[in-house]
């Protein structure tokens, strides 16, 4: 197939074929990082700006490495250092960046839809590195890539996502990507954080973890933000771990060869116990490795699209 999008904003926008195409492309790029010389000239002569209006370490480092391995020229911008503090609008800031003949803007922002808004108003490409609770497409793609690599397929698998679903862009992007590729998706966690409205798009919702884990091929344990406790979503991290954490006893509900995933950073012994995070079912660090391949594939596809 021919890639035609200048932006990657959300998996909701993509077809199953487009998602598969990104995964296939990432397989090729994964080999690059396994070589002695970890660099290809795919984006040589192109300039990428990493614009993180919301702070990030792991995603920014992953994007930066992906860009370097594609031989792109890179500029990093953070909100604190940008003109946003001087009262400039976001659109003016990115228009100024574009006026420097930049090819791609990788952006993270706390407001849902911020990247869609700027992408509409820019001719250069925009890659969403996370917009509020809305979307984090490259995270979901690396999760799905990891599942496909281990299981050989996505269609028909039972995937359970556990935790703070309502505030999670990782959950939303995984849901769209997995549904488009034919997986059975369950979301689970405290009732205050698992909106029933997801059932309208064919996702099962669950507030009992045993039920949610029964027969799962994959379980993705989302990070729990401690500030949600003070906001009244659950009583304590201890109670959270007791009812919604993955521990040795609950592993029996999963299929024996089930994958245990986590988008990081982990709160050990809250979302899952340390021994499970480090155990044989865990693919948490492989997710990180695959993130690099996915970001290389995405940057290559949108960076080389014919405008």
């Amino acid at each position: 197939m021919q890639w035609t999008r200048k932006d990657l904003l959300s998996l909701y926008d993509l077809s199953g074929d487009e998602i598969t195409y990104i995964l296939d492309t990432a397989e090729e790029f994964k080999k690059v990082s396994e070589r002695r010389v970890k660099k290809v000239p795919a984006l040589r002569g192109k300039t990428v700006v990493n614009f993180f209006v919301e702070p990030s370490t792991r995603t920014r480092v992953s994007f930066e490495l992906a860009e370097q391995r594609l031989s792109a020229d890179i500029v990093n911008m953070q909100a604190q250092a940008s003109s946003l503090l001087k009262g400039e609008t976001l659109l003016d800031t990115v228009k100024n960046i574009e006026a420097l003949q930049v090819d791609l803007v990788v952006m993270r922002h706390s407001a849902p839809g911020a990247q869609a808004f700027i992408a509409r108003n820019l001719s250069c490409g925009v890659v969403n590195a996370g917009d509020g609770a809305h979307s984090h497409p490259t995270q979901a793609l690396m999760d799905i890539f990891t599942i496909r690599e281990k299981k050989g397929r996505i269609a028909g698998l039972n995937v359970t996502i556990v935790g703070d679903i309502i505030h999670s862009r990782v959950a939303r992007s995984n849901i769209w990507g997995l549904l488009k590729l034919g997986a059975n998706v369950t979301v689970a966690g405290p009732a205050t954080m698992v909106p029933r409205e997801f059932e309208s798009i064919g996702v099962r919702t669950c507030t009992n973890l045993a039920e949610a884990l029964e027969g799962a091929d994959v379980v993705n344990m989302l990070r729990i933000q401690r500030e949600r406790q003070t906001a009244g979503f659950f009583p304590s991290t201890g109670e959270y771990a007791k009812f919604f954490g993955l521990n040795h006893d609950r592993m029996k509900y999963l299929k024996p060869d089930a994958l245990v995933m986590h988008p990081g950073p982990i709160n050990r012994d809250i979302e899952l116990t340390g021994d499970i995070a480090d155990g044989p079912n865990s693919v948490i660090l492989e997710q990180v490795t695959n993130g690099l391949a996915i970001r290389m594939a995405v940057l290559y596809l949108v960076g080389c699209v014919k405008k």
Partner: protein, 423 residues
Amino acid sequence: MNEYILKNARIIDPGRNIDCKGDIGVDAEGRFAEPAALKAPKSVDLSGKVLSPGFIDIHVHLRHPGNTLAETIATGTAAAAAGGFTSIVAMPNTKPAADTVGAIELLHRLTAREAVVRVLPCGCMTVGSAGEEMAPIGSLKSAGVVALSDDGKCVQDHALMRHIVEYAKAFGLPILDHCEEAKLSEGGVMHEGKWSVLLGMNGIPAAAEEIIIARNIIFARKINWKIHMQHVSTKGSVRMLRAARAEGVPVTGEATPHHLTLTDECIKKFDTNYKMNPPLRSEEDRLALIEGVSDDTITVIATDHAPHTRTAKMVEFDYAPCGIIGLETAFPLCFTELVKKEVISLPRLIKKMTVGPAEVIGIDNYSMAPGNAADFTVIDPEAEYVIDKETFKSKSRNTPFDGRKVSGRVVMTAVGGKIVHQA
């Protein structure tokens, strides 16, 4: 001024239960008159047109003083005239807020200088609409306000609210309340429901509105005084309002054209022209609102005309101000969606844009009876066109309806017999 006769129109005057073909005169003083009583009138042929009393909008933000980049009394009233409105109630959340006699006097002065339609002042319920201390309600009444509102905000202190309703009753001032429980809506930018969940946006639950609607019904019943619910948006609100009105509680409610025509799904493109408060609700809520309009639970169509500059709206959805302009699109939208689709008849729509709002603010001389000021609106019910925001008289362009195909055009508006708009 010269006398004239409006000839051959379909006259719809719901205040007098009139719907017939006929002629109406306007005398030299700018009042309606029997055609036979005029000496040498000009005639204006209105064949094929509908002649209605001038529309009344009890929910308009004129932004003057405070944000004259978005709207002024001149441009806001010109937009009203273009939309067929001859009287508008100016919400008090200007900067400074209309919470003092001085602020109302300033509004009178600005109005005298540049308004082309009647601007009826509304005063704050609380000082600065901060919800803490009662505004000088008696003095505001003496200065000429027709109602009280903290629109945009909602008094959260129920004891204070109770006192305001009691006190306002003694001065004969109705309360126009923006119903929103602030803790429930805190941080919300759109309706809480399927689409807020799918989009990862903070939701404003229906309960935030319904809890205050319930409170207001309780106070209106107990105190036996008029509380008007602004921009009713949820199914639960309609249900409570219906039950309360059936019991005879003095409560009324308004619906905006946008809540009657749009839903939360529109937000999936993150266009800030779909951001308003209360937010666009679900399709179920929209249909309940239409039912409320149809069975007269909702007696008022009001626009919540809320101008914002392009700069203010060209930002991330979370950071955009709430509100859209509505004066110039209200009639065609309602005519297209309610009358053409046979939800209500044209006379009933006109009633909700004249009699309904007039009853809320207690004015009774708005009909086309001889002797009343000749405020009227002429409609071409056959016109079909595409809304073009660049033709608006409003200073702002924040509308989600640009490019929408509609029927029914306001072709003439007159205030006191003087023609203030002609298309």
